[in-house]
C-alpha cells in the first residue's frame, strides 16, 4: 500500500478502545481499557497528518515528540517509536493510561478542531507497553561523577528526577516513607486503571539498570531531617506530593463510616484490601456510598466502591447496593478525566450534581445513617469566569447512605519540612520553587510536582522532576551557580 493522501487519512475514524465488558468489570479489579492491538495502533497512527507545526506537542506538558513517534509506529519501527518517546517521557505506559489527554495533547490536535483528535494517549500506551515487554531502549548510566543526591518521595516527580540524575552518572538515593515506591501511582490510582505490574515494571527496571538506591520506610522529617540530608548529599530534591487529605467542616465527620478518599484508596490499592482476607488489611464499604467531589480521586473512589459492593454482594448473595457522586457544581465542571467519567456512568454510578452536603447524620451507635444535602444552582460568573454554585433556599433533603467518602482535594504533607529553615512555603503549604528550575528558597534544595503545585497531574509532576534534574546536573557539574 502506498502513502495515504491527506483526505484518505482524514476519512479514517478514530479507533475505539477495546474495554472489558461493562457488566463483568463491575465485579473485578482487572484493567478496564484493554489496549490497542498492533493492527489498531497502526491504523490509528495512519490518521496523523504529520503537521509542519504540530499543535499536539504544545498541549503536552513535557513536549513529547508526538508526530515523530507516531510516524515510526506506523512505519512499523517500534524500536524507533520507543526511542522518540523516551526523549521526553520515561513512563509512557503510565502516562498513556492516566494523562487527561482531552485537555492536553489531544485537546490541541488539529484533527480535533473539526472531528476527532488522533488517539495520542492510546498510541503512547501501546508504545509504552511494547517497551515494558521488549526493553529495546535500555537505560544507560554515564561514568560515575562522585556526586550524591537525595531524592525525597518516589512518585512521578521523584522517580523522573532520580532516573535523569542517575543516567548522568550521579549517585541517587531515593527516600520513601511508605513500604513501596510509586507515590500516587501505587497508593491512589486503582489497579483497574493502572495495573501495579506496569508501575513495578517501570520502577524496578529503572532502579536496577541505574543503580538507584531505594530507601523505603524512611520518613524524612522523622528518620532523617532535611538538614541532615544536606550534610550528607550534594543536592536534595523534594517530590513529596500533596498527600494530606482535607475533610469538610460539617457536623458528623468523625462518625464511623466516614473516611477520606486517601484512606479508602490506600486500603484498597496499596494494602490490597479488595483481596481481604488473603491480604490482612480490611476495608468496610456500605450498601449506599456517597463520594463527595468529582475529580479523578472521587471517580477512583466511587468506582472502587462499585466493585467492592459487587464482590460483597456476590459473596453474600445480596443486592449490590448504590454508589453516588455528590458534587456541588454541574456536569460541565467535572474536573475528572473524561474517560473516567464515562466509565463511571457505564458502571452504574449515580451522579447527584448541584448537590452539597451540609451534615452527616449518625445513629445511636455513631455510624453513618444519612447525608443531609442542599440543592445548588449556578449563579453569576465570578472573577475567574466560572459560574459559582449557590444554595437553593429551603431545598434541604436527606440522602439515605451508610458510607461517606470525602474526595475534596489534598495539600502537601508538612512532615518533610521539619528542620527546613529558609525553605519558603505558601499559605496552602506548597513549597515555593522556581517553575523553570525547581529551585526552592533554600540552597541546594529543589522541589517539584504536587508539593509545589498542589494536586495536579502525573505528567506535570514528571515534567517538574525532569526540569529540576537538568538544573541539578548543571549545578553539580559547575555549569551554573546557585545565586
Amino acid at each position: 500500500m502506498g502513502e495515504l493522501t491527506m483526505q484518505e487519512r482524514m476519512k479514517i475514524k478514530r479507533h475505539a478502545m477495546p474495554n472489558q465488558d461493562q457488566e463483568a468489570r463491575r465485579g473485578n479489579f482487572s484493567e478496564v481499557a484493554l489496549g490497542y492491538t498492533a493492527e489498531m495502533a497502526r491504523k490509528e497512527a495512519d490518521r496523523c497528518l504529520q503537521c509542519k507545526d504540530p499543535q499536539c506537542i504544545k498541549g503536552c506538558p513535557v513536549g513529547v515528540m508526538i508526530p515523530q513517534f507516531i510516524k515510526a509506529l506506523r512505519e512499523g519501527d517500534m524500536v524507533k517509536a520507543v526511542e522518540w518517546m523516551k526523549v521526553k517521557n520515561n513512563l509512557p505506559a503510565v502516562c498513556g493510561r492516566v494523562c487527561p489527554q482531552e485537555v492536553q495533547c489531544e485537546g490541541h490536535c488539529i484533527l480535533g478542531k473539526k472531528g476527532e483528535a488522533v488517539a495520542i494517549g492510546r498510541l503512547e500506551r501501546f508504545v509504552g507497553d511494547f517497551e515494558l515487554e521488549h526493553r529495546t531502549c535500555p537505560l544507560v548510566k554515564a561514568a560515575g561523577t562522585g556526586k550524591k543526591i537525595a531524592v525525597v518521595g518516589s512518585g512521578p516527580a521523584g522517580l523522573t528526577c532520580s532516573v535523569d540524575l542517575a543516567r548522568q552518572g550521579h549517585h541517587v538515593s531515593m527516600f520513601e516513607s511508605l513500604h513501596g515506591p510509586g507515590g500516587v501511582l501505587i497508593y491512589g490510582i486503582p489497579e483497574f486503571r493502572l495495573p501495579k505490574s506496569v508501575v513495578h515494571g517501570e520502577i524496578g527496571y529503572a532502579v536496577d539498570c541505574l543503580g538507584i538506591e531505594l530507601k523505603t520506610d524512611h520518613v524524612i522529617g522523622r528518620s532523617f531531617t532535611l538538614g541532615e540530608l544536606l550534610e550528607d548529599y550534594d543536592a536534595v530534591f523534594l517530590g513529596t506530593g500533596a498527600g494530606l487529605p482535607s475533610f469538610m467542616r460539617i457536623p458528623g465527620i468523625n462518625l464511623n463510616g466516614v473516611m477520606s478518599a486517601n484512606e479508602f484508596l490506600t486500603r484498597v490499592n496499596l494494602m490490597k484490601a479488595y483481596q481481604f482476607p488473603d491480604y490482612d488489611t480490611p476495608v468496610r464499604i456500605g450498601k449506599k456510598v456517597a463520594v463527595i467531589g468529582a475529580g479523578n480521586v472521587a471517580m477512583d473512589a466511587v468506582r472502587c466502591s462499585v466493585r467492592l459492593q459487587r464482590i460483597l454482594a456476590e459473596r453474600n448473595a445480596t443486592a449490590p447496593g448504590e454508589a453516588h457522586i455528590v458534587y456541588r457544581r454541574s456536569s460541565g465542571e467535572i474536573p475528572a478525566r473524561m474517560e473516567e467519567y464515562h466509565h463511571a456512568r457505564e458502571e452504574g454510578v449515580i451522579f447527584d450534581l448541584l448537590t452539597n452536603p451540609v451534615e452527616i447524620l449518625g445513629d445511636e451507635k455513631r455510624a453513618v445513617k444519612g447525608l443531609r444535602c442542599i440543592r445548588m444552582e449556578l449563579g453569576e460568573p465570578d472573577k475567574s469566569g466560572r459560574r459559582q454554585p449557590v444554595p437553593v433556599e429551603g431545598s434541604e433533603f436527606v440522602m439515605d447512605v451508610d458510607t461517606v467518602i470525602m474526595a475534596l482535594g489534598t495539600n502537601p504533607n508538612p512532615i518533610v519540612f521539619v528542620d527546613a529553615e529558609g525553605l519558603d512555603r505558601t499559605r496552602q503549604g506548597t513549597a515555593v520553587a522556581d517553575a523553570a528550575t525547581g529551585r526552592t528558597m533554600k540552597k541546594r534544595v529543589w522541589a517539584g510536582g504536587d508539593v509545589v503545585t498542589g494536586a495536579a497531574t502525573v505528567i506535570s509532576a514528571m515534567g517538574a522532576g525532569k526540569r529540576a534534574a537538568a538544573d541539578i546536573n548543571a549545578f553539580l557539574k559547575g555549569e551554573n551557580t546557585w545565586d
Partner: protein, 287 residues
C-alpha cells in the same frame, strides 16, 4: 528486611522484641512509635518504641497478642525478619521538671510508660508510678519500673498481685493527698482505662497526658483514619500526637471508632488460626 535480634516472652500474651532498624534508632525518643508490616500480605500496625539503643541501631517493641497481626508477630523468632519498619513517628513526649508526677501504665501500656517515667526521673521529677493489669501474669517490667520510680504501686483486677483494684483507685488517693502535690499525670493503656484516668484527674484539674491508640494505616498523616475528636476539632493522632491532653479527648467517639473493623479483625484471626491448625496437622502427618 529488618532482623529480630532478640525475643523475650514477658507473659502468655505479651512479647518483647528487639529489632534492627538503625534508621529508626538514630532519632528515636520516648513517646514515639513505629509502623510495622510483617510480610507482603501484612497490614501496617503501629507499636510504641519501648526502648532504643542507638549504638546497636536497635528498637525494642513490646506488644500484646490481640489479633491476627500481633499473634503472627509473636510467633516469629530471633533471627527472623519483618518486611517493613518505618519511624520514628509522632512527637516525642515533652519532658521537663514538673515536680511530682504520676505515671500510670495499664496492661501492655506499661511498656510505653517506662521510657517516659525514666526520662521524667532523669529530668529531676519525683515519679510515682502505678501499673496494673487484669492478672499477675500480665504484669511485666516491675523491677525496671521500680528502678525509675520514687514509689511504685501495683494493681490487678483479680488481686493476684499487688492491690486488688483498678489503677484509678490508687491514683485518686494520690490526688486526694494534698501533701503529694501531683502536678501532672501520664496515662497509657487501653482506651477505656485512659478515659477513666482522665475522669479521675479532671476534678483536681491536674493536666493529664494520654497516648492514643487509634486505628492507623500509613502513620504519616496521609489518610486521616487515625483522626480523633478533641475540643478544638479533629486531629490526626499519628502526626499531631500520639500524646494529647486527655481532658480534651472525646472518648466515646474514640472508643466507637476503635470497634469499626471488629468483624473483619475476627474473620482474619479465625482464618489465621484455621490455617495454623491445618499447618500443624500436615506437619503431624509428615512425621
Amino acid at each position: 528486611m529488618y532482623r529480630i535480634l532478640k525475643k523475650e516472652v514477658l507473659s502468655d500474651v505479651v512479647k518483647l522484641m528487639e529489632i534492627e532498624a538503625p534508621h529508626v534508632a538514630r532519632r528515636a525518643r520516648a513517646g514515639q512509635f513505629v509502623i510495622v508490616r510483617i510480610d507482603e500480605f501484612g497490614e501496617r500496625i503501629p507499636l510504641t518504641i519501648a526502648d532504643y539503643d542507638r549504638d546497636r541501631g536497635a528498637i525494642t517493641l513490646i506488644f500484646q497478642e490481640l489479633g491476627k497481626s500481633t499473634i503472627q508477630l509473636g510467633r516469629l523468632r530471633t533471627g527472623d525478619s519483618i518486611a517493613s519498619f518505618a519511624g520514628p513517628l509522632g512527637h516525642p513526649t515533652e519532658i521537663e521538671n514538673y515536680g511530682t508526677v504520676a505515671c500510670v501504665g495499664g496492661g501492655v501500656g506499661i511498656a510505653p510508660i517506662y521510657p517516659i517515667a525514666r526520662a521524667l526521673k532523669q529530668a529531676g521529677n519525683r515519679v510515682i508510678s502505678v501499673i496494673g493489669a487484669r492478672t499477675k501474669e500480665l504484669i511485666f517490667w516491675e523491677e525496671k519500673m521500680r528502678a525509675v520510680s520514687d514509689a511504685l504501686i501495683i494493681c490487678t483486677d483479680d488481686g493476684s498481685h499487688g492491690r486488688k483494684a483498678l489503677v484509678t483507685e490508687p491514683l485518686k488517693e494520690l490526688l486526694e493527698n494534698r501533701e503529694m502535690k501531683i502536678s501532672r499525670v501520664w496515662a497509657i493503656g487501653p482506651a477505656i482505662m485512659m478515659k477513666f484516668v482522665t475522669l479521675a484527674t479532671r476534678p483536681y484539674t491536674v493536666p493529664t497526658t494520654v497516648s492514643l491508640n487509634t486505628i492507623m494505616i500509613d502513620g504519616t498523616g496521609m489518610c486521616g483514619g487515625c483522626r480523633v475528636l478533641l475540643e478544638e476539632g479533629s486531629k490526626f493522632v499519628c502526626v499531631d500526637g500520639p500524646e494529647f491532653d486527655g481532658h480534651k479527648v472525646d472518648w466515646d467517639n474514640l472508643l466507637s471508632r476503635l470497634t469499626f473493623y471488629r468483624d473483619e479483625e475476627k474473620r482474619a484471626l479465625d482464618l489465621y488460626n484455621h490455617k495454623c491448625n491445618l499447618d500443624k496437622a500436615t506437619v503431624a502427618e509428615d512425621r
